[in-house]
């Protein structure tokens, strides 16, 4: 059964001056999924996210959050949205608790009880009464999430949520986001320029470049039929000849050969190599990465 659509973006456009920054974006977010927003720096991710949260007015197109258009029904739409745009910039001169209190006061019916709940959820109970300026980046990030969750949103928008976190922090954040989507049924939109991050975290991905969505698909489908095999053989030239007669090959700088992976054919190729008197030193099945796909789709558009 199709899950409910929580965020729907149609024909979104933004023109600044004469430049069209965002050209006709259309996508949907469903309940309980983590949606990745992937693109190089300057592709328009942040501009899009700022339009989604109402900071920038779209030139044309519509954004609906839980059925409420954000231009006509700003308050209703924002009630079901939680977000962190870029870094969670909270008030450094207030304590964590006062920051949460500050944002709770801007929502209806969010009391002390809920503040305690979210504090516990992000694991900040011990430091919540300290000033935010004494917090580490990871703690600020968590406080930011706590703040975003205060109003029990249906949609959570996180712009570069793992920015500046250490590897342990990144892992923790990833687990936390998965938890929110799977257990709490939130739709989470995550933007990132880190492919590995999106690959591990998201159910579906939109690849965006120069203001256009190039492709939207599930991670599995995007990566299907993209497993490769690395061959390490000796003598190299002879092996290369044999392999190229069997399938398309790609020669790497470190004197290895890349071919596609095929469950049935790969052992067959190996056999042929051995028969031709080539010693096969290593056969390595390489898991696919979005990186390659990305480069392929964007035509080598710069990416970190």
């Amino acid at each position: 059964m199709e899950k409910k659509i929580t965020l729907s973006v149609k024909n979104l456009k933004k023109v600044i001056g004469r430049r069209e920054i965002i050209k006709n974006l259309t996508f949907d977010l469903r309940e309980g999924e983590v949606f990745g927003f992937l693109g190089p720096n300057g592709a328009g991710k942040t501009t899009t996210i700022r339009m989604l949260v109402g900071l920038i007015k779209p030139t044309s197109g519509s954004i609906q959050i839980c059925g409420n258009n954000i231009e006509d029904h700003f308050q209703e739409a924002m009630t079901s949205l939680g977000c962190i745009v870029e870094n969670p910039e909270l008030y450094p001169y207030l304590s964590g608790y006062n920051n949460l209190l500050h944002f709770a006061r801007m929502l209806d019916d969010v009391g002390d009880e809920r503040i305690r709940e979210v504090t516990e959820l992000v694991g900040l109970t011990e430091r919540i009464h300290d000033k935010v300026k004494t917090y580490s980046l990871g703690m600020r990030q968590r406080l930011g999430i706590a703040q975003a969750l205060l109003g029990k949103p249906k949609v959570l928008i996180l712009d570069e949520p793992t920015n500046g976190l250490d590897p342990a922090g990144i892992r923790e954040m990833r687990q936390f986001i998965r938890f929110l989507a799977e257990e709490e049924g939130l739709s989470v939109l995550v933007s990132s320029h880190l492919l590995s991050e999106i690959q591990l975290l998201c159910d579906r991905v939109a690849i965006i470049s120069k203001g256009v969505i190039i492709r939207v698909d599930t991670v599995q489908q995007l990566l299907e039929n993209r497993e490769r095999v690395v061959w390490h053989i000796d003598p190299f030239e002879k092996g290369k000849q044999v392999l190229s007669s069997l399938t398309s090959i790609e020669e790497k700088d470190d004197r290895t050969i890349l071919t596609d992976f095929d469950e049935k054919k790969t052992p067959e190729w190996n056999k042929r190599l051995v028969e031709a008197g080539v010693s096969v030193i290593e056969i390595n099945r390489k898991m696919p990465v979005l990186e390659d796909l990305f480069l392929e789709l964007t035509g080598g558009d710069t990416i970190e």
């Binding site: 700022r50 920038i56 209703e76 001169y93 006061r105």
Partner: protein
Amino acid sequence: MNKLIQNEMMKLIAKKRLIVIAIIIGILVMLFTYAQYKQVQTQREKLGTSDWRTILQQQIVDTTNRLSSSRISDEWKKQLQISLQQQQYYLDHDINPAEPGAPTFMRIFLESSIDLFIPLMVMVIASDLVSSEHSLGSIKLLLTRPVKRWKVLLSKYITLCLAVSLVIAIAGILSYAISGVVFGYKGWGAPILTGFNVTDTGLNTSEVKLLSLWKFLLMDFGLVWFVSIVVGTLSFMLSVLIRSTAAGMGVMLAALISGAILSNMVSSWESAKYFFMVNLRLTDYMKGTAPPIEGMNLSFSMMVLFVWWAAALLVSFIVFTKKDVY
């Protein structure tokens, strides 16, 4: 709305601005009190008496002497003539223009701080109310709540008005409490004259009224409050328009200081009277000194300030609700 104002107040207090302002005012009042005390003492030594009539008489003689000098400019001459006539009027009616005591000190303090010092303090609060949210980046969190933008701005503006009132209250209380130690706390009922009318021919005293000092002070406070609100609103607008707090403060500071300088030299440039900054010395009209430009009076100045206030408020709200936030 109440909750939003509570938020803004929480931030204002956490930034400790009000405490800093209170300390600055306190120190300045102490300095002024000491200076005033010294002045009174030297005068007493010079004239050998503490009788105010003798002192006033001496002042009148001084002023007359200065008037007879040929090297003073026409405008200055006019100013002196007016103050001479005023002094004479006080003497004729047997009223001490500077009845000693904390309330008189308060009046002098208010009158001399209305165009620069108090606006400066107000500016310190107003100029970073909005721009600091930009420089911190917290504006992104503030504007993505289910609260309309104009409500967010209004809560900030109301907070500003409350803070301005508080600053003026602090100035009043501190100047009374501190100067009272030296001059004594009495003198609320002292008579003071108001309603001098500066005309082309000189000073018109036909509408002069006798007031108790406390009534006069109440009016002074009202005028100071009005000026502060206008200056606060203008800084507030700059804070919306300019994202950098320092730049906003710089612009406002330049305007205030230029006002102080301009008032001394614009008497022949008539259209300068529409600048807000030459209209800030509202309390001077109460006292009856000559305005910087001919044709200015209390209602004219208040009108000019009101127009600037309304325009600033309008611009702030339009820009804030429409602007894209990056």
